[in-house]
Symmetry: D2
Subunit: 194 residues, 4 copies
């Protein structure tokens, strides 16, 4: 890095980045990796996989869905144009920090009713969403409105959303390892018209 | 209808609606239904169907994609999260009034390069998109910026966009007739989580 | 039109198109244009306009939102990335054939709770959505699952969705007439980066 | 953490997570925080902010756009329904690992042509996108197809995409610090209809 004048804004950005990274280092010690590993057979046995999430959490679920598609899974994002009905034998993976977002809880109820599997990523395992899930991956990050500076100094659900991306990418990396495909085999599935 | 005071705004709306309907009646005489019917075997033989369009035209292509999914086709919207790469044996259906939108022309080039089929809906059959297409459905409605009041009094590409919806829905209705499924069989595929 | 062989598929497509056009001609006689015209002052007085709809109805609401943006209104699509919270003085325009879709009914409740206006497009004025709306535009087309061949021979909510597009475009055309802007003034607002 | 049986899959997931975190720790030492801090006055002076990105990078740009909206900026995602034309005085923030994605390069050209500002996030500062940008934030992570195991063991552009989220969130946190608003003031802007 060049020898640059370290002004106030630069120091604030660097400090914010260090806070973010440290919060993730701390989280790695409280995540239960068994919970994530347990998703592997469920994902491999699902007919179709659906993902759902609201706001920034929804964007992270979409990022995960795109990678699952690259790996060759049949995957749909709830709410996108060509997502069909969920059926018995399918799997819904829901992301929700609070586990209470009503649109997501109702989708989860539909999934259970038709006999599909249900996995959730959440900050706790006592919410309506988590209690109805077959498997819950707990990411012990603050909820959006229940800010606790001991858990995260970041705004709203940022730590949860970031950790959802990193955690799901660790799962993706594992699915890829177990699958044994080369990067170029996966690359062929990447969207080639945008 | 109640006996209401017909004020200026009400008259303007009714008059606008009559203009719109009359433009569509006129269009039905200049559409070549053979062009649309020719899409049927192409659609039925495609492995995966992709649709693409920009702006409001893109929204109409999405509406068509949703119905193709209801009918049981494997269909993707270019740019949505889980759309994979297009491959040989697949089909791209592109909507573009002008047939010159660069992102769509490049997508069409990719489709041709990989050996996929290419159908377009356009206002003419001489554009870059139409000339590279295997089949073109011409909807003789004014282009967005080449407004000709003899063709449409509506703003920009509205007549084309509306007619794209109606025309594609006529095709959908025909595919459904030929398929013989009941409405309740199709209904089972409708998204059940929103 | 060229002298083409009129095979079975061509006849089916042409016949489907005639059915569609005739259903719209019939609808123009049962729409109350006062209901649509009454939206004009409400739209003009709104601070921010939000639109919402599910499935194909949602796509038609997006097409309408795009045109409202072209006309210079501050408009957002519920669920898109940068849509903020709805507030007092804002307006929610909801499209729902049945008027019962739960996500839309809840959004409407939120709109009312914060003191925003609520307009709906629906097939009837007795649904939960319509009864809580300040103004309802009734499009007397069959609901998705209550198919009545006397109302429409088309699949599911197609007639409603098409008519929503045409009806809202008649309103847009009227707003444009009243505004007095030229097409080129509006054209400057069209997205220039896609 | 409970005393759980550490099977192979669990070890793989934990190992993948450690690789991911270590790659981010390493990146924090090679990011130039001045580049990020330099965005602050540009963002504060922009009339409208537009963001663009393809694939997972696009999803991370959307996550950033949502937070900019929460902070009170006028922000649009290129390609979403109500995004208007970019104009002089506006700002385009583009994310692209390679800096060569054609749709993004063309959008950047449009931004420059109309007199808007242009900032990019990229893995290098020599690409077409970076060379035309007013400011570039270099995230020295491997490009999608130029995989270098010394830079990242992760699949494709994952490290870039994750770091884009973390880096932009560090900027967001700084903008929030400088702004002085409380979390509850920002919370009022969060979408309340989904």
């Amino acid at each position: 890095m060049e020898d640059t004048l370290r002004n106030k804004e630069t120091q604030l950005v660097e400090s914010a980045m260090n806070i973010i990274i440290n919060e993730h280092i701390k989280l790695t010690h409280s995540i239960n990796y068994n919970e994530i590993a347990s998703m592997i057979p469920t994902i491999n046995n699902a007919k179709n996989i659906f993902v759902i999430g609201a706001g920034r959490t929804g964007l992270m679920m979409k990022a995960s869905a795109m990678r699952l598609m690259h790996l060759g899974y049949q995957v749909h994002v709830v709410g996108e144009t060509t997502a069909p009905a969920i059926e018995e034998g399918d799997l819904l993976i829901a992301g929700s920090g609070s586990g209470t977002t009503s649109g997501i809880v109702r989708a989860a109820e539909t999934a259970k009713k038709v006999g599909a599997g249900l996995i959730c990523f959440s900050t706790n395992n006592t919410s309506p969403l988590a209690t109805m899930s077959d498997q819950t991956v707990v990411i012990p990050a603050a909820q959006k409105q229940a800010r606790d500076e001991n858990v995260s100094k970041q705004y709203a659900g940022s730590l949860f959303e970031q950790s959802l991306l990193l955690t799901f990418d660790a799962l993706i990396q594992t699915l890829w390892d177990l699958d044994g495909s080369t990067a170029s085999e996966l690359w062929k599935r990447h969207a080639n018209m945008e």
